[in-house]
Symmetry: C2
Subunit: 210 residues, 2 copies
DNA sequence: GTCTATAAAAAGATAGAC
DNA sequence: GTCTATCTTTTTATAGAC
């Protein structure tokens, strides 16, 4: 993977490469993206890329994994910010879901890359794919559960299986929007996003609200 | 698109080409799939492909649209079979959802192609993409609504906006499974699929059941 | 309309100098 | 470790014979 290759050169070059790769892979997709183009975008020679990464696939998967961690951390911060202390259940959940959805628009290259991963899923080594899923979507997904459990403990939600509740929350809000926008590839008018998310939270509370 | 080209030769050849294209595009993705490979798979010369289709993109989009119509019709038949006459709301909805989900496994090449379309969404001409969405996912999605409306009229469901209810049904069943399996690229154990779908219908009925 | 042969461009990866 | 130059393969698309 992104493991420190035998000869890891200037870390600064490496970061230039991964940044460029994220952009080019995001814009062009895996196959169409040329290593030439990535090298040009990074301001680095092609040979330097091959000194840092075994091959094109290694570069792609490294960048994908890096982005997954980044987005997961961003979502963890959103969870903490909106759901650590609850003022109003509906308002706080809605605010969280809206920012969670907006995060997709804030990492356009990453989510373009996510679409590429989904398309290439059957051709990615299963172990690597699993690692990516665990680092990214699965964790971002499941980290909501403990917050819901806490809210149930505090009598703010009906006490049910928190992981299942988290699934339903995600489906009714984030997944719904991502499904329609193709992870941001076909943007939706903001007011429509707001409406979808608001309705999703309302529906969630019909299931789990007090 | 698939419009009858100036010189449309043997219709039989054309069908051989589209069938081969569906398989090769499905297995390799758009960019990696070679026109050579499609010609070989179809048992046809490459030139013949270019006589029937303007270029590779035209071929791909034609096949995608054709597949979308096909799957939409399949789902329409499932709707009619399971939901035209209701015996038991929960049983009938579950049976429908299970077959609806299974349909993804029955058209593996098509849904591999769907993943490719999602990945390429930002690079597909918007008008063409919209046409595909309307022919495929959107229609398959919305055709459920009238059945739910009918069930509400018959007092089997609470009378609410049927399109929204259809959204929620799809999210809680089909989308949930497709999200996890990447449209069938990473299959799930059948019993787990059954559990997810059953739970989804149960949750749907907590929202809309009597 | 269909075929074989080919043109023309682009891709991934490496050799070898510094 | 990084660069320039190059090798080799594969790609899309077309010319020209039948």
């Amino acid at each position: 993977m992104s493991a420190p290759h035998p000869a890891a050169g200037r870390p600064e070059k490496r970061r230039a490469i991964t940044g460029a790769a994220r952009r080019v892979f995001g814009n062009e997709g895996y196959v169409r993206a040329g290593v030439d183009a990535i090298a040009a975008e990074a301001g680095v020679s092609k040979r330097t890329i091959y000194n840092h990464f075994r091959d094109k696939e290694d570069l792609f998967l490294s960048v994908a994994l890096e982005g997954a961690h980044e987005v997961t951390e961003t979502i963890a911060r959103l969870l903490d910010r909106h759901l650590r202390k609850i003022v109003d259940v509906a308002d706080d959940l809605t605010a969280f879901a809206l920012e969670r959805v907006a995060a997709v628009a804030e990492f356009p290259e990453h989510f373009a890359l996510v679409r590429t991963i989904e398309a290439e899923a059957a051709r990615i080594p299963p172990a690597v794919l699993e690692e990516w899923i665990k680092a990214g979507p699965q964790t971002a997904h499941l980290r909501l559960a403990p917050y819901l459990a806490r809210m149930a403990d505090d009598g703010l939600l009906t006490p049910e299986d928190p992981e299942r509740a988290a699934d339903h929350f995600n489906l009714l809000t984030v997944v719904n929007v991502n499904q329609r926008t193709f992870y941001g590839a076909i943007p939706l008018p903001p007011e429509q996003v707001t409406e979808l998310v608001t309705d999703g939270v309302r529906t969630f509370l019909r299931l789990y609200g007090r």
